[in-house]
Each structure stands twice: as structure tokens, then as C-alpha cells.
């Protein structure tokens, strides 16, 4: 128990330290409310995908979701193509936005179900299954758009959702936090979450203990798909356009965030709050680098080092040094 708290505190501290260091060396602009809002509104795309990866990892059995960003893009593209057929965005922007979101969620649900079924019923390892669906989703997106990006145009409600702060908090960030909160609640406090953790810790024992393993796996990856489609809506809202290869660098970054957040890649353990804190820490760090005009290559280097350092910190036994000398 104490161990868990240590990690949360550690990540929270990183957030605060980076933020303060930023304010100190990058100037007051870094800490003003506008920049905080910008950083907050940048977190959800990646954060949602990282939550999906975390969930897949927790379910165990080599769980991972490589198809997240591909599904997010496909959701956005399909939703736009269908919704703009049904409703003219300019005429009824609100109705358009809602139907856009609804269709995107349906696509995410379908894609997640496909992942879940592939993994639960064919015995395909998640890595290969989601690699296959990643290509499939990307491929469909390319086919639908002929490879070019699709511009949504300026649709006020969507744009507001992506960028407008309400009471100082960007809407999409608020949604992200709410989703993360719900997910955290689901994992920690509900029978589903406890079963998922147990399933990830020992699949056979979970089956013998009456956990409906396949249903759980399908459900888990469906949630991952839904998270991806929400990310798709956020992307569409913020970029004002959708394209098949948007965020192609996100696949590995999402895994990075999940692992930085302390999710055990072998399954059975992970905390949503930590994943959230890892996502914000990475965001603040990367914004800081942009503020300082530090090369983006160097930022990637820093992330790699951070990941290894975090893995190493789990290996270092602090009590070894804290023990008084004999």
C-alpha cells in the first residue's frame, strides 16, 4: 500500500518540479493561465490512448493495444464522412457535432470489439492482433480518404469542445479527467475492476475462480476502442481536420506513458491516477522544451532516458542507503 502511494507522490512531484523549473527558466509565460490551458488541452489525445494501453496491459497475457491511434483516426474520418452526409455542418453545427461524436463512438466500439474478439477467441497474442488491426484500420482510413486529409471546416461547437476553457479548464481536458476518474473508479472500486486485476495477475486462477475470462477480455478491449474513438473526436475538434496518419508517433508514446505511470506490462497492476500524472508530466516537459527551443530530437532522448530511469528506480532499494551504518 505504501509503495503505491510512493509512486503517486513521486509522479506528482515530477509534475510540480517540472512546472516550477519551467516557470523559473522559461519565464512567467510558462506558468500563466493561457499556457496551462494549452498544455491541459494537449493532454487528452495522448492521455486517452495511454489509458487504453494501460487497460490492455492490466488485463495481462501480454496485453497491449497498438491500434489506438489508427482507430482514433478511422473514427474521426468515418464520423465526418457519414455525419456530413446526414447533416450540413454549417446549417446545424450542434446537431452535426453530436452526431459526429456518436458515430465516432460507434466506430470505436466496433473496432474495440474486433480487437477483443480476435484476442479472446482466436488466441492471437495482443501484440500481433492489434498490429493487424492497426494496419487494417489505417488501411480503411486511407481507402476512405484516398490518403488525403479531410478538413472539417470551422464548426463552432466542436472547436469549443477542443479549445474552449470553461472556468479556466479546457472542455476536452475536463472530459479526459472525468473519463480517467470513471476508469479509475471502475478499476479500483467495482467488481469488474477487481476481477480485471486478478485476471491480469493469474489468468488460470481467475478462470477457475469463476471470472468469465473471454467476456472480460472483449469488454476490456472494447473500452480501449471507445477511449480511442473519444481521442479521435478530440483530435478532430482540435485540429479541425482528420487524416489517416495523424499522430503516427503516438503508438509508442502511449506505451511510454502507461509504463511511466507504473502499469505493469506483465499485467495485473496499474493505477489510472498515475497514468494521468505521467501523461501530464510528459506534456509539461515537452511544452517546456518547446518553450526553450530545445530540439525535439533531444526531447525524445529525454523521454527514453526517463523511461529507463523509472525502470531503474523500481530496482533500486532505497532502504539500502537509508539503513544506518553499523
Amino acid at each position: 500500500m505504501r509503495n503505491l502511494d510512493r509512486q503517486t507522490v513521486f509522479l506528482a512531484l515530477i509534475n510540480i518540479i517540472v512546472l516550477l523549473t519551467g516557470g523559473w527558466i522559461a519565464g512567467a509565460n510558462f506558468l500563466d493561465s493561457y499556457n496551462l490551458q494549452i498544455m491541459a488541452s494537449q493532454v487528452p489525445e495522448l492521455g486517452l490512448l495511454a489509458l487504453g494501453v494501460a487497460l490492455a496491459m492490466i488485463s495481462g497475457n501480454g496485453g497491449i493495444d497498438l491500434s489506438g491511434i489508427a482507430l482514433a483516426n478511422l473514427s474521426g474520418i468515418t464520423a465526418f464522412l457519414i455525419a456530413s452526409q446526414l447533416i450540413a455542418p454549417a446549417a446545424a453545427p450542434m446537431a452535426f457535432s453530436w452526431s459526429f461524436a456518436a458515430i465516432a463512438l460507434c466506430v470505436g466500439l466496433t473496432g474495440g470489439l474486433l480487437n477483443g474478439f480476435m484476442i479472446a477467441f482466436t488466441g492471437l497474442t495482443p501484440l500481433i492482433a492489434t498490429l493487424g488491426t492497426q494496419l487494417l484500420f489505417t488501411g480503411i482510413a486511407v481507402w476512405l480518404t484516398n490518403g488525403s486529409s479531410v478538413s472539417l471546416g470551422y464548426i463552432p461547437p466542436l472547436d469549443d469542445f477542443g479549445n474552449l476553457p470553461v472556468l479556466g479548464v479546457p472542455l476536452c481536458f475536463a472530459l479526459f479527467v472525468i473519463i480517467a476518474g470513471a476508469l479509475g473508479y471502475l478499476l479500483r472500486c467495482t467488481p469488474f475492476g477487481v476481477r480485471l486485476m486478478l485476471l491480469g495477475s493469474n489468468e488460470k486462477a481467475a478462470r477457475y475462480g469463476g471470472v468469465p475470462v473471454r467476456r472480460m477480455i472483449v469488454l476490456t478491449y472494447t473500452i480501449c476502442g471507445l477511449l480511442a474513438s473519444v481521442a479521435g473526436v478530440v483530435i478532430a475538434a482540435r485540429a479541425g481536420s482528420v487524416k489517416w496518419d495523424y499522430g503516427s508517433s503516438y503508438v509508442l508514446i502511449a506505451i511510454l506513458i502507461a509504463v511511466l505511470g507504473g502499469v505493469k506490462p506483465e499485467g495485473g497492476y496499474g493505477r489510472i491516477l498515475c497514468v494521468l500524472l505521467a501523461a501530464t508530466a510528459l506534456q509539461i516537459l515537452s511544452s517546456l522544451f518547446n518553450f526553450l527551443g530545445i530540439s525535439n530530437f533531444f526531447r525524445d532522448l529525454a523521454w527514453g532516458v526517463l523511461l529507463l530511469a523509472l525502470l531503474a528506480s523500481a530496482r533500486v532499494n532505497l532502504s539500502l542507503w537509508l539503513r544506518p551504518m553499523r
Binding site: L135, F298, G304
Partner: protein, 336 residues
């Protein structure tokens, strides 16, 4: 229960055979694909096509040999493309700037050495951090690639050393089609043959090979039986790095340019090829023959779509479906 001595049905026997020799299944898929494409477009069986597919398989194949060894030992490596990029770019620059006359037989071993050094660091980290190799190599991939781009260089590099230029152009056999188009079997194929043979020898004829499969089957037990896990990991990732370094140079030589942005994002596709060749992603199995077939299969599928007349916008989706279907059949087969 006593087994009845009824003649075993053909299907069951076939299944038992592919259970023992999963690469036969891969071979079957290849034959099916070739047959399908040849029916759709008989031109496909022309010699220049065979050469082209071989040529396109070389770099993938060399990488895949390294990945096979890592998978067999129960690990996953996604940093090898970054290692290859680093080695190929840094070494090409070094040779060009300092020893422009360096012959190929020095360059290739140097590349191997450089790659192996990175790989050994991977192995060391995985062993000492006791973390899953997928995660550790994601970290090192970031570090290696961005170190290359931050500290070594980012620009496309066209002035290859003469020996590499010649190696890229060398051909084992040239064939002139009726239209006067020349196609040639590149000499780089020899590197793949060498890498495959060395990997086969290593896996099947040395104690290290057995140790690799042993640690892939169950590392704790292997350690108890006296196999030194640290040595195995250092070797396995070192081997993957070595082959990656060599593959990088082959890539540069045959492309006749060194682009530090190249090869990124290829890693998962190569892992998929090895898995389609019958190696389990959970470790402890896999063969060189199967891996070569897996690479051939992936190259084939990504190269024949034009021949069948599938528009290029559908290619990604088709390859995805193919991986899902083949993977599923594989998974179902090995489960029964």
C-alpha cells in the same frame, strides 16, 4: 483409454505435421499466394519478379534473423531498426570522412561490431533492470534514434564510400528481359545467406543455441540448470544488434544513400514476419527456415498487390487482414 488403431485421417496427420513443423504452414501460404497471383496475372512468374522479391527481402531477412534469436530466447526487441540507422549513418559518415578507401570486408565487420555494442547494452539493461524487453527496447530505441539525430546528423548522405557503392551495384547474376530491361540478383543476397547460415548454426549446433531455447522456455528453470542468463541475454541482444548493424550497411549500399530517418517503424512488421514463420511470440521456439519463409511471405504480400490490380489505397488494409487471418490460423493450430 486405449487408442484405437484406426487409420489416422489425412487431415489429422497433416495437422500433426504442421504442429511439429509450423514452417510448412507458412510455405503453404506462400504457395497459395503465388498460385493466386499467377492465375490473376501470369507475368508474375517472370524471373525479374523473383529477383525483385529476393532483393526486397534481404534487409528484412537479416533483421529477422536477429529478431528470431531474441524471440526464441523469450524477449522482444524493437530497437534494432534504430541501431541499424545509427550504425549505417555514423559508419558511412566516418568511412567517408576519415577512411574513404576502407574495403567492404572491414566495413561490414565494423558495422556488426557497432551494432553488437548497442545490443549488448540492451541486454545488460534488460538483465539488470529486470524489466520486460519490449519496454526497455522502446526506451533504448528512443535514445538511440534521437542521439543519432541530435548528435550525429540529420541530412541525407549521398556520397557513399567506393566500396559500399560497388557492393550495392554488384550483382551475382544478370538477366535481360525481352524488352531489354535488365534485372539482376544483387550480391547483397549473399549477406542474407551468411546471416541465415550463421544463425542456424548458432541455434542448432551450439550450446548457446540450446541455452537460448532453454531460457525462452522458462528462464528461471534455465538459470537453475546452470545456464547463465546474463550471458544469454547479452549474446542474444548483441546478436540482434550485430545483424542490425550489418543490415543497416546493406540497406545503405543497396539504396546508395544514407538517410538517418530510414528504417524507422519497420520493427513491428519484421516481428510479424518472424511470428508468421512459426516462432511463438512468447518464446522458446522458431526456426531459421520458418523465419525466412515468413519474411518471404510478408515481402510477397506487400509486393504482389499491384500485380493483382489492387489499388494502392487498399494495400495497408489488405496486409492488415492478411496478418490477422494468418495469425489466427496459426494461433488456432498451435492451440489444438
Amino acid at each position: 483409454m486405449t487408442e484405437t488403431s484406426l487409420p489416422i485421417p489425412l487431415f489429422t496427420r497433416l495437422r500433426a505435421l504442421t504442429g511439429r513443423r509450423p514452417e510448412l504452414f507458412t510455405l503453404g501460404l506462400i504457395l497459395l499466394t503465388v498460385l493466386g497471383v499467377a492465375i490473376a496475372n501470369p507475368n508474375f512468374l517472370a524471373m525479374n519478379n523473383v529477383f525483385d522479391i529476393l532483393r526486397a527481402s534481404v534487409v528484412r531477412g537479416i533483421f529477422a534473423m536477429g529478431v528470431l534469436v531474441v524471440l526464441a530466447a523469450g524477449g522482444i526487441d524493437v530497437s534494432f531498426t534504430a541501431i541499424a540507422a545509427f550504425v549505417m549513418y555514423a559508419l558511412t559518415m566516418l568511412v567517408h570522412n576519415v577512411f574513404p578507401a576502407m574495403p567492404l570486408w572491414v566495413i561490414l565487420p565494423l558495422a556488426g561490431l557497432g551494432g553488437a555494442a548497442f545490443g549488448v547494452v540492451n541486454g545488460l539493461l534488460i538483465h539488470s533492470l529486470r524489466a520486460p524487453s519490449l519496454i526497455v527496447t522502446i526506451g533504448t530505441q528512443y535514445i538511440i534514434r534521437s542521439a543519432l539525430l541530435t548528435f550525429v546528423g540529420t541530412a541525407l548522405f549521398m556520397n557513399l564510400p567506393a566500396s559500399m557503392e560497388a557492393f550495392g551495384k554488384a550483382s551475382l547474376w544478370t538477366w535481360t528481359g525481352e524488352s531489354g530491361v535488365i534485372s539482376s540478383l544483387p550480391a547483397t543476397v549473399l549477406v542474407l545467406v551468411g546471416a541465415a547460415f550463421a544463425t542456424w548454426f548458432l541455434l542448432e549446433r551450439t550450446l548457446m543455441g540450446r541455452a537460448i531455447f532453454a531460457s525462452g522456455g522458462n528462464p528461471d528453470i534455465a538459470a537453475r540448470l546452470g545456464f547463465n542468463l546474463l550471458h544469454i541475454r547479452l549474446f542474444v541482444f548483441g546478436w540482434a544488434g550485430l545483424l542490425a548493424g550489418i543490415a543497416g550497411i546493406v540497406h545503405v549500399a543497396s539504396n546508395r544513400l544514407a538517410n538517418p530517418f530510414d528504417l524507422a517503424g519497420m520493427e513491428l512488421e519484421i516481428i510479424a514476419a518472424v511470428v508468421l514463420g512459426g516462432a511463438r511470440i512468447t518464446g522458446g521456439s522458431g526456426t531459421v527456415t520458418g523465419t525466412l519463409l515468413g519474411v518471404l511471405l510478408i515481402t510477397l504480400v506487400s509486393n504482389v498487390l499491384v500485380f493483382v490490380g489492387i489499388p494502392s489505397t487498399l494495400q495497408l488494409a489488405i496486409i492488415g487482414i492478411f496478418i490477422l487471418l494468418a495469425g489466427t490460423i496459426f494461433a488456432l493450430r498451435s492451440r489444438s
